[in-house]
Amino acid sequence: MTSLNLEPLNLIITGVGGQGNVLISQVLARALVGQGLKTTVGETFGLSQRGGSVQSHVRVSRNKIFGPLIPEGQAHAVLGLEPLETLRVMASYGQPDIQVLVNARPVQPLNVIAGQDRYPADEALLDALRGLAAKVWWLNATAEAQGLGAAIMANIVMLGALTATGIMPVEAKDLEEALAEVLADDRLEQNLAAFRRGLELID
């Protein structure tokens, strides 16, 4: 069993509304509570689901219930379902030791589509991320998910990748158990495949 070394451990899951960050934060939190840990997840949803930025603040402790918002500059890790949102979150909550997993596929903001703003090139994004983190995993989770039948499962792939990094005090079997509790039976197998694919993405 992976142990909890930070007190609390602060993880932010971020993305664009509709990418399913609430689902994976819930699954992760269930697995953590199942390990006997105190977990608080602060969510942003509502209007932000209509194409806006969304965040889940996950705080893990051995024995204390922490507030639902991570203080600025105190995130230990970011699981980013979208590159811009990942950088955005790091500006408010990051610190030099932060570890970051990011799904490389852009979701273009409407203002970028409309030509008012530019979407940075991959190299610029990766450079910026590396400049602000101790470790960056740049993953093609959407492509992997598409390969397994549905792009929407990119979040599950990322959850697998997060698990494999060992940042969170949970193991793959704990997550798979939580997935089985949360997902409907007919979707479980496909999602487990996505989760396991995510595990493989980290060496």
Partner: protein, 636 residues
């Protein structure tokens, strides 16, 4: 989920704040739950609905919060425990019923959960609903964690029954939508049958004596609050500064004190029973320090109560220096957070406070500034509202009378933004759009010549628009009513309403037809499919010329997210690169810049528009948008 309703007292499970409150109601033996969807409260009813058949409770999405409260009151009058849930705006809607009920009193425990939305993360306003407690003279509880939320709701039913009046529980988004460990309590055994004792009527008259009775009930609650486990003090016996905190702000305060290392100088007075304040308990602790920082959301409600208390007990507890929203140490607007409380604290004690590593933050801020564009809100790909507003935009632009759209509350409120082509020029409360249009429709006699289009959703129609529509029709106000019928209460999570034909617990019910209601008023009604831009535009153009009376167009097409889960869409889209004009004269990226659908993006390498196949759902509407006919739809 299962955890919430499971009969496992003592089990420690992960629950969302709303789920925990639902659990608290179950543990109290609730028999009735009603509300109207409203972020951040909606999950309470949804959670109870899932447990309804097993726990034999009645759960309902009512047409509006006033009816929800009244219907819940009926259950209470019949001796059953009842719950009404809503967001801050819902409290406004049911205020008349609330103040009457507070006068008449109730029987079975009746709890009203009001969930506020600080920072208006998903609301049309930022409002603090706690005023209702003082207004209606009702006890108020403010939980800080999901565990406490469950325990307080459980307690609230008991308190309500003991004093014979409604008990208010106030949540905020950062509680309702937060998940955390909750230890479950016991579920009760069976309950009795509803029965109304006709010898004990619930009336408000004569009002003056009843008013006094309300005060007496409050005193009774206050007496209980003096010993409440929901209030406690933590910290040194003689702190330099006391932080009085309620709701999740308590957790922020605790963390702020730790961040600044002020544990031995700062005390935290955590208050969960915030109206009426238990005078003795609070005075005893306030006496400990000369300075008090108040941490709460949103308005300085607790702050004012404490100041009154301090004024009344000043001779005993000494003069106090208060810090908070009134002193400018805490912002009067927006949600709170650990950093914000830490900043206030640091300022009071004369410390510098810089969150995190300053060099890192400077570099990160620069990166974001240079590289990361903002992300505007928008309609989902395939949203019928995008198509409806597109048709409205074209028609209003080619009409020369400076017509405009009056909006209302729902996903379609986003018509105020570029995603809805900035068509909507005003948006207020549920049904306000129709009420205002009724007003505009009578200004013609004074020379007003601008045609008005009132846009209202299907759920909003049932909630509040009908009386306004009757007013308009009867008074011969002329405007175009466009009902955007996407067969759901979409923004809040696709809850059913009387037009959908299904209940929150999944029963099939007889749909109530919007057309027939309008027809009954003698109004001309036309149903259009917003995806069919050409026909819809033609109908809009015609009706806009005949606004001597209210004309109704129902734009009917299910919400894209609902369609996506059901039958899906009909088309596969692609852009013919050879026809696409791109940035040239004759286009200038019209589809990207003006139509603005997230599924229709720009490919910088080919200098052409492109369909993003991960995002595009295949609704086919963009085909009519391209001036070069380069967007092609293929039926699948």
């Amino acid at each position: 989920m299962d955890d919430m309703a499971g009969d496992h007292p003592g089990a420690e499970v992960l629950l969302q704040g709303n789920e925990a409150m639902a659990r608290g109601a179950l543990e109290a033996g609730v028999a009735w739950a009603s509300g109207y969807p409203g972020n951040p409260s909606s999950e309470i009813i949804e959670t109870l609905a899932r447990a309804a058949s097993e726990k034999r409770l009645y759960v309902e999405w009512s047409v509006n919060e006033k009816v929800a409260l009244e219907a819940a009151a009926a259950a209470s009058f019949a001796g059953m425990r009842a719950l009404a849930t809503m967001k801050q705006n819902g409290v406004n809607v049911c205020l008349d019923a609330l103040t009457s009920l507070a006068l008449s009193g109730i029987k079975g425990g009746l709890v009203l959960i009001a969930a506020d939305d600080p920072s208006s993360i998903s609301s049309g306003n930022e409002e603090d609903s706690r005023f209702a407690a003082a207004l209606a003279h009702l006890p108020l509880l403010e939980p800080a964690t999901p565990q406490e939320a469950k325990d307080m709701v459980r307690f609230a039913f008991d308190l309500s029954e003991r004093i014979g009046n409604i008990c208010l529980v106030r949540s905020v988004s950062r509680l309702s939508h937060t998940r955390a460990n909750v230890i479950l309590g016991e579920l009760p055994g069976g309950r009795g049958r509803p029965r109304f004792d006709t010898s004990r009527p619930f009336i408000t008259l004569p009002a003056v004596p009843h008013h006094q009775v309300m005060y007496d009930k409050l005193d009774q609650a206050e007496a209980e609050f003096e010993e409440s486990p929901f209030n406690h003090y933590e910290g040194p016996p003689k702190p330099d500064l006391m932080i009085a905190a309620c709701g999740p702000s308590y957790l922020y305060a605790r963390e702020a004190v730790e961040m600044l290392g002020l544990e031995d100088r700062t005390g935290i007075l955590k208050l969960g029973t915030t109206y009426p304040l238990p005078q003795k308990f609070v005075a005893e602790h306030l006496a400990k320090a000369a300075s008090v920082l108040v941490a709460e959301e949103i308005d300085p409600v607790l702050e004012r109560s404490l100041k009154v208390l301090a004024a009344e007990t000043g001779d005993r507890i000494g003069a106090k220096r208060f810090y908070g929203k009134r002193s400018g140490h805490v912002s009067p607007t927006g949600e709170s957070g650990p950093g914000l409380v830490a900043r206030a604290l640091a300022r009071i004690v004369g410390r510098e406070f810089e969150p995190g590593d300053p060099d890192y933050r400077r570099r990160a801020a620069q990166v974001v500034d240079e590289l990361v564009p903002p992300r505007e809100f928008g309609f989902c790909p395939g949203c019928p509202h995008r198509a409806s507003y597109w048709a409205i935009k074209q028609v209003l632009a080619s009409d020369d009378r400076q017509g405009f759209v009056v909006g209302d509350v729902g996903c379609y409120t986003m018509g105020i933004w570029p995603t809805g082509f900035n068509q909507v020029k005003m948006a207020h409360a549920m049904g306000s759009g129709v009420g205002m249009s009724s007003g505009f429709g009578k200004l013609d006699a004074m020379g007003f010549a601008q045609p008005v289009i009132s846009v209202v959703g299907d759920s909003t129609f049932f909630h509040a628009a009908i009386p306004a529509l009757i007013n308009a029709t009867y008074n011969q106000a002329g405007f175009l009513l466009v009902v955007l019928d996407n067969a759901a209460t979409a923004m809040t999570g696709f809850q059913p309403h009387p037009g959908t034909g299904v209940s929150v617990t999944g029963e099939r019910l007889s749909r109530i037809s919007i057309e027939r209601i309008c027809d009954a008023m003698g109004l001309e009604v036309t149903v259009c499919d917003p995806y069919d831009i050409e026909s819809t535009t033609a109908v809009l153009r015609d009706r806009l010329r005949r606004l001597d009376t209210v004309r109704v167009i129902i734009m009917r097409r299910p919400c894209a997210l609902v369609q996506g889960r059901a039958d899906g869409f009909d088309y596969r889209m692609h852009v013919d690169e050879n026809l696409c004009r791109g940035e040239e004269c004759g286009c200038d990226r019209y589809c990207n810049r003006v139509f603005r659908c997230p599924g229709l993006v720009w490919d910088a390498s080919s200098n052409r528009a492109r369909i993003d196949e991960v995002i595009c759902v295949g609704c086919g509407v963009c085909e009519t948008v391209c001036p070069a006919g380069a967007i092609v739809k293929e039926t699948i």
